[in-house]
């Protein structure tokens, strides 16, 4: 099997400081990988490098494109990379305001991504928008409201609908449940898990919440000070952590 995404020695520095150093891994189709670590450990930097939002100082990110097989994403011409970002890839931001257009209606937010890949039939676009709002549990009568009028949890679900409507193969998520209260978090997690299973998505989820990765991720990467300190199967890393930092992280979780 060809990995869907391969990172090879991805390194990003901010001046003299290390953002993330020499990160390598293979992500296979259908796999969900969690990246955990405390704030400042480099996990978001890494995610941005992988998704092409930041240019790493060294290393390669190789993606198995539908048309041409494995290609180095960083060496792709800009239009092709943007196309990839609109079709095969999706990016769910921690703050829904970064991933949504707040000034247009919910339906338009979902429809915009469809139009970006060539959909033009208004009726069909609206129909698909309604379908996706339903899947993320937003009532159809809210389709013409702007995201500003939505709660934080609804905005996050709308962002997910907007991202998944084009049937991506790879989803990047940056703290998808951050800033939501626990009951909304549970609902969102359940939803995400269902969608990942149903659509056979691969995903890379950055979070500092170990409970989130236990439920969502197949495997885990633990980062500290820009370096990967431990990787493995999610329940193995959480139940039998090998590195001192991971042991600290796991034992620091408060029991409810």
């Amino acid at each position: 099997m060809t990995p869907l995404l391969q990172a090879k020695g991805v390194t990003k520095r901010y001046g003299a400081r290390l953002g993330c150093g020499d990160v390598s891994f293979d992500l296979y189709p259908g796999e969900v990988m969690g990246i955990v670590g405390e704030s400042g450990s480099g996990k978001s930097t890494l995610l941005s490098c992988l998704a092409g939002h930041l240019v790493p100082d060294a290393g390669k990110v190789i993606y198995d494109t539908r048309a041409q097989g494995p290609r180095d994403v960083l060496a792709l011409p800009e239009p092709e990379r943007r196309m990839l970002g609109r079709t095969d890839w999706a990016f769910v931001h921690q703050n829904p305001r970064d991933g949504l257009r707040m000034g247009v209606s919910a339906g338009a937010n979902v429809g915009e991504r469809l139009m970006a890949v060539g959909a033009r039939h208004y009726g069909q676009i609206r129909e698909q928008a309604v379908d996706w709002l339903g899947r993320v549990e937003i009532a159809p009568d809210r389709i013409d409201d702007r995201p500003r009028a939505f709660s934080g949890g609804m905005q996050q679900r709308l962002q997910i609908a907007r991202n998944l409507v084009t049937g991506p193969r790879l989803v990047f998520m940056d703290e998808p449940t951050g800033g939501l209260d626990v009951s909304v978090q549970a609902r969102l997690l359940d939803l995400l898990r269902g969608l990942v299973r149903e659509m056979g998505l691969s995903a890379i989820v950055v979070t500092h919440d170990l409970a989130v990765v236990r439920l969502l991720a197949d495997r885990l990467m633990v980062m500290k000070d820009g370096a990967v300190v431990e990787t493995g199967l999610t329940d193995q890393v959480l139940d039998d952590p090998q590195h001192g930092y991971t042991q600290l992280l796991v034992s620091s979780v408060l029991q409810v």
Binding site: D190, Q236, G244
Partner: protein, 227 residues
């Protein structure tokens, strides 16, 4: 089916002065298809540790653990996950579920993951829940709010919903009443009859005697005391 060769394990506690706690050394055992083997030994002897190493959520220190065709020690995460879908089932002591997911779906999940069609998986799940006397009005609810015994039965139904060639059972009869205990023992015997290789931990001695072919005393795998 399940084969452990010279397996050892120690825990290193980096945040507690780097203390090294050896738990298992030189463990070897083989379980054939259709056989049920009980791990016995005092609390703390390493029964659960050994079981978790077979399941793959504890790393194997040295030696090899083979389940079906897979070498669990040193396997890639996706190989372990594949093994859990296709080869090895696990009834743990605790049910861990996503909030909000109905009991019926929780139970059917391993069958669905193993490629059983949805109606068939749900039928099978209904059958098991009924057999384990979980009231039908609870099937549509999430098991997070169930009593301990009910959760345990949901967990068992989940473990038996998909016929896998190997199984791990961690105290399957604990916290069950006599009727349900008998149902679980029957399920184990049926699994054996269809050729499943089973490793179990049973504190219930009569139950153990009823289903197990042999016992392996885990204290035999205790590491030599350090001088």
């Amino acid at each position: 089916m399940i084969q452990l060769t010279d397996v050892s394990k120690s825990f290193v506690l980096h945040n507690q002065g780097g203390a090294v706690i050896p738990v298992i050394a030189g463990a070897s055992l083989t379980v054939a298809a259709g056989e049920c083997v009980a791990l016995v030994g005092n609390s703390g002897a390493g029964k659960s540790t050994l079981m978790r190493m077979i399941w793959g959520n504890y790393l194997c220190g040295s030696g090899s653990i083979r389940v079906g065709g897979v070498d669990v020690s040193g396997a890639e995460p996706r190989e372990v996950l594949h093994m859990r879908r296709e080869v090895l089932g696990y009834v743990s002591q605790f049910l861990r579920v996503v909030p909000r997911v109905p009991t019926l779906d929780v139970v059917a999940e391993p069958a669905l993951a193993g490629g059983v069609p949805r109606d068939k998986a749900l039928d099978r799940a209904r059958g098991l829940l009924a057999r384990l006397n979980v009231p039908e009005r609870l099937w549509g609810l999430s098991p997070t709010t169930f009593s301990g015994g009910e959760q345990q039965r949901v967990n068992i139904a989940r473990g038996f919903v998909h016929d896998l060639p190997a199984m791990l059972l961690d105290e399957p009869t604990a916290s069950l009443d006599a009727t349900n205990r008998a149902v679980v023992l029957d399920l184990i015997l049926e699994a054996k009859a269809r050729g499943a290789a089973i490793v179990g931990i049973f504190h219930d001695a009569a139950g153990r005697a009823a289903v197990c072919d042999r016992e392996i005393d885990v204290s035999g795998f205790a590491p030599p005391a350090r001088a």
